[in-house]
Subunit: 249 residues, 8 copies
């Protein structure tokens, strides 16, 4: 609860305009909404951290996802669920035909997406290889759903440095660069050494054997010799997009 | 090599003002300086990514550190070495009496630190506990050496939420928040849910047993339920400061 | 074997009321029952540790589960099997139509559940997110099957502290608090710092990437900066319920 | 902040007895004390969770430890610092001669320890082997400093079951049993199957090779086949004592 | 190649009874048989280490398994393949109707099993719980196929010590005890402290969460406080049986 | 970009034969080809590192694989995709009937394979067991598709040293030896001690339990006591073949 | 407690020769001796498992070690402490001048060692390299202190197979073979494939980097392709000796 | 034993020139020399794998190192011990004043180093940073002691790509490139994509936190997206040099 709100409320209590019980209720119930008995939607989040609440689809039933999508759309005009499998999506759409499924990033949306700016600051979303696309498009689509301009720069892994260097100008123009890479994740270090903008490194689980589900790329990115590379969880396109939003405020 | 520089060079070659061999030399040698035969100082880094080169002290001999400090000071007016042990520092100071050692953050500097702004945007550097101070001061001192305003908010670990909530206003005013925490590292998630600014989480090796040298805090921060928390390596105050600089451009 | 029982038996032997061979048999065979040749039901457990034996369903055949349910119901009036998949449950119900399957917590019961107290001491079962419900309901249902009052407090993860703080009064009234959380598991630390009751932390495998199947939450909870948080195995709702029972004796 | 306090404060504001600004200050500053600029002592903790704040000595300077001991003693009459090395202790005692060092549990105290009850409920602190004593005595000493009766039962590891079974009666009489064991940590499972009281398992780093600093015992205890064993961090005698205190309220 | 064989061969060469080329061929080709081009059956193994070759079924095609079973049966009268899934077994049986599938231990046999001794030395195969049976029956069946007497002692996990102690006499009579246990694997330590015979500990993957696929039991068994416990790989019933055979020679 | 090409280009610019803009375009676009917007084919790779680009099939859609196969075949006459599942292969073949699927090594090819030399230097591809064949045939087939002579030496694991020693002569004649082994991977050390040629060790995920998906073999090979053994990723037949090509230049 | 002893005791109670209380005391107190309050010496162990109790020196004070050595010598004529550092040994010898320190295996003994048989069955203790000697000599010395004949076969690592093959005859004559190896630990597999006797594999922490303190050798040995290799903990010469004793009964 | 030698020996036996016993002795004893009873020097190694035996200093006593250096020098004219600490070196030099210690690579030599070729094929030893020099110089010095030409290219980490690209021509001219890098080890991937020669990647333990002693670099290198990169153990300059020698035969 922000100090301003608390001050205002206290003043209303002081002025006798609000009773103590009512003030207690406001303090307790205002910022979220209880759905059935299993969820508390954090409508306040957008005011607090600049991002609307997003539904984490994994481990939820289709009924829960549908119910939460409806409530968030009612509040914000647009609702988003991530990590929704094709099976879950189909079941939700049976309940909620207006929901739209984006298969590659496994995102389900309900409601109206915003118009995107044709120019101005943009986020570059770069991938090391084609197999990193599902994670990269999760980040890119979320940024677009939140109204940001995105440019994708795909398949510029360090095994062919000329492909990367040819994109250097575009990379240096970006307000934020999201680097999505599996295997050894070296792209983050190289980009981190080329641009001055914040570089957000997303390790992916692309690889096999001693990649250990993305651990190799994660550790590499955390140990980047380029100074000041931000790392998020493995395959966490959502986290990268949210972090980019914090930078772009 | 930036496109503008390349264009200019090509134009000089076209005009016959520069020979092909000279152009090749420029392309090859311009942006760094070789020191003895063991180091190549990246003077270009500051232009490229907005940060001067910093010497990583661990595993270097006192002679190497002293030599590199001198060359970087000659170029920039101020040189910084991190991860310098008390023993190394003493040996470097024997060679270079003007070097100044900051014991808690283990930083050695040579040259003139910049004046700091008295107000304006600031970086909040928050610690969960007093034992996290060495890492936090590494970040804070570097930011000050790079000319940024810093406010320290210490000992606000989540076991006493009221301590943290009392600092909430200050946290929400920061341009960037660096959260330094060991043990379970939960402070990053709580701060990430309270502020809209970029939150940079630095796990520390404070703890024992199943902390596994900071692994517990690192994994916790990577899995933060607060959206968009940037993570850097364990005990990496330097990385946090560098990432903050990228945000503050 | 308890000293009292042994004393009594020795007295009977001393008095000639029991032969040596009979005493040996009692000592050997009393406290458990052999089922087919693959299981020894520990009917004595309830006397010894205050909890009836529960069947661990994973890796057992439907026939084994059905047989063990029958024998435990015959002894206690109610039998419980945990970690029973939907497929296993269906196969057991074909053999034992009276068995009841609880799909979310994956529990199969046979026999009569006890009546629950309408008020008095209760166990609060709190979840960080909706995806933690299967584990939380395993704990809650078991406690209810063992006759305890439970109040569920769902979706109070630390990314929206106001949701948690609004439930603080309820949390402080509980006799025991079970905190069920995946991802970074920070809820355990925050609750541990708010209440004086025993806090039982259950890490869940909710998450992906560097959650490593719940390892991140487990390590975080083990390293909690709040003093005196009890940790059980990942996804171990059963263990949390059993531990709560020990506290409630 | 508890609802009662908030209600009272709101009533005072309503009655005009307290100004809005004063109320804000109370809400913000009441429960802790800032020491120098590196620590915030949580005097409120004792009211909130039933345990006084304890200083974590690792990674703190002797000056910091001495200063914090003084402030906590001033507030509570007795202050305790854990994980204090012999070197740290000597340096603190140079500053604070009244401080008392307990070498085996590495605890430093200042002030008056409470009298202990001669009988009544007790905590049993059991070790698997003599090498587990440092951790066990950390738990036992803290419980005594907090006014609880403790009985030590040493060297009853499962390789000689008769040693353990001979102590069974004493174990079953305890209000809480703390089991301290390294190597394979099997003692926790066996005790967990013998007694109905809460069993708190403390894995220790006693062992070598594939003990991996206590990981083997930790994992074993988390996977205990005895239902409802509470686990704390490796070598965490402090956590075990704090958890026992929660049970004993 | 044994010294005796080499001596004999050299003598034959010395005597002119064997040519140099023929001797080379013997030295090269004698002890194994090439099947198609993908396998070399080690018929010599039985002479060398006292155990016939066993086919490791995982990762082999049904054709390969069938072919190898035929060749080994031709040589030995009985052939055994382990780690054969139900699907593989069905496909092999389509090619080789005489093959017999043992579903619980996932073993496929072809040919005549030996008669078993009615009394005399026996191997005790003990399980902690019913879910450990697949691994235990792999060990037991192999021992019986190799002509050894086996007694199974099931479900004697340490959470109910009286079940284990009741079997103590039988355990002490065994020539070798194989202990099969998942979760925390404590049974190996307790049995290791009760009997003088070789104790072979087989960790199983029974468990979940921090069992990490049997790692918890494996580490516990390697760190057993009972002296001289032999450990084999997780779920390795075959290895335990083979090790028992070495002891029983 | 090689110095020669750059020199030539600069000369053309100097001579006025090439404009500055055209030169910039050449520098930027020459060495790769953009396919749709998700891939950049590195046609230059063959000139640079002596190996044509190979498509990594895992995580790509059949459409992407088909499109990339076509473009690479157009450029090189032969295109190869690795890690293609049977399902993917079938879907690609529906789009591209000329594509040929090799089931065991999971490789899909399009175009004309080269003729192989009947004698001369060869690569020996040795396996420890039959279950290692899928990885070994990936290496062997790729080498043959790149025009090299390969001799397979299967099932020579160290449990039957005589099988290995019988192949010693063949192994010592090879120009390069690729050793493919799972479980404990000891074959690499033994071969590394027998031959002077480069030994490339490929750990496989053959095994179970504490093999941890090939980690045991990987660590063993990295710690080989035989000097100078080259290790590649787990199951990485492709990497072994590529490394062999570098040796054979 | 064995059935025979219990029967006898019960008979004495039946006959009125022993009172109930006295019988209880016997049952409780017979088999161990309490030393100070920190240890319970298991004198019964020798009868039960055929091995006298051995003091684990790590983590014990010199006073504790000295006291325990005296008590065990009084009971058995010879007492042994393992894992005693040179510093501990010196301090114990100051208290107990008759104690003898064996520096390489870090063993301290008190009392009379037995005479060793000049021929007959022997244990072969083989090392892969000279750096494995401290662990190997721990095993060998303990076996000799327990009266067994030992033959050491050093430095026969698999990188030079001829060194190993030259010792093959000696290895095949041993009653038990203990294989001590660090790095990749391949020696255990090769020996396991050559001899029929029980092979006890002791991984050592010899190595660096990805040896991870002996983990590489441990995993390799657990995954040995030779059937029936017994594994003990890393650097656990004591465990290997104790296991050999079980085989040699 | 090579076939040629065996053939020759058999022919001598056939011709009666060699007795059977003498032939057996040759077969058994020829290729190594026993030193004291703790080592078997593999003089044959040079013939077999093209590299003389090198003494691994870690864990050996100074006496052992000195003795082995003398014997190897007697046989080869030059002997080398690696991983020798400054303390060990000083103690060996007290015994053997002619031994020469190279402090940075921690190598001790005895005897005459060969002359080096002034031109011709060379091995490039590249480091990412100055802190990688100890490992790089271990590789470089060994190669020079084995008579090979080496060119060091230091401090070309990927955070400043222009430093690396400026050395590209030199890198492409090398017969073999050894890449020595800690932290994220990305240099190996970039170099692997630039040159056609064998690239040997040596991860170093340079770094901290989530570098986990070089694990991050090791995993990155094993997962390199550049095809055909050879990896050796962490900090294993010796292994890299030995592997380079195999390529250079």
């Amino acid at each position: 609860m922000q100090v301003e709100r608390l001050t205002e409320l206290l003043r209303a209590v002081q002025a006798g305009q609000t009773s103590v019980d009512a003030a207690l209720d406001v303090l307790r119930d205002l910022p979220y909404e209880t759905v059935a008995d299993y969820a508390r939607l954090d409508h306040h989040r957008s005011l607090r951290i600049g991002l609307p609440e997003v539904i984490y689809g994994a481990g939820k039933t289709p009924e829960q996802i549908a119910r939460l999508l409806e409530r968030l759309t009612a509040a914000n005009g647009l609702a988003v669920a991530t990590r929704v499998s094709a099976e879950q999506a189909q079941a939700v759409q049976a309940l909620l035909p207006a929901a739209l499924y984006h298969a590659m990033p496994r995102i389900l949306t309900l409601g109206m997406a915003p118009a995107l700016p044709a120019d101005g600051p943009f986020v570059a979303v770069a991938t090391a290889g084609t197999s990193d696309l599902p994670v990269a498009t999760e980040a890119a689509l979320l940024l677009e759903l939140w109204g940001r301009r995105v440019i994708a720069i795909n398949d510029i892994g360090v095994a062919g440095m000329h492909r990367l260097l040819a994109q250097r100008e575009l990379l240096t123009q970006a307000a934020v660069v999201i680097v999505v890479a599996g295997m050894e994740g070296a792209l983050a270090s190289v980009v981190g050494g080329l641009v001055a903008a914040p570089v957000i490194a997303v390790p992916t689980s692309v690889g096999y054997g001693a990649s250990f589900g993305g651990l190799a790329a994660l550790l590499a990115m955390l140990n980047s010799c380029a100074p000041g590379v931000a790392v998020v969880n493995i395959d966490n396109g959502f986290g990268a997009a949210a972090l980019a939003m914090r930078f772009l405020r």
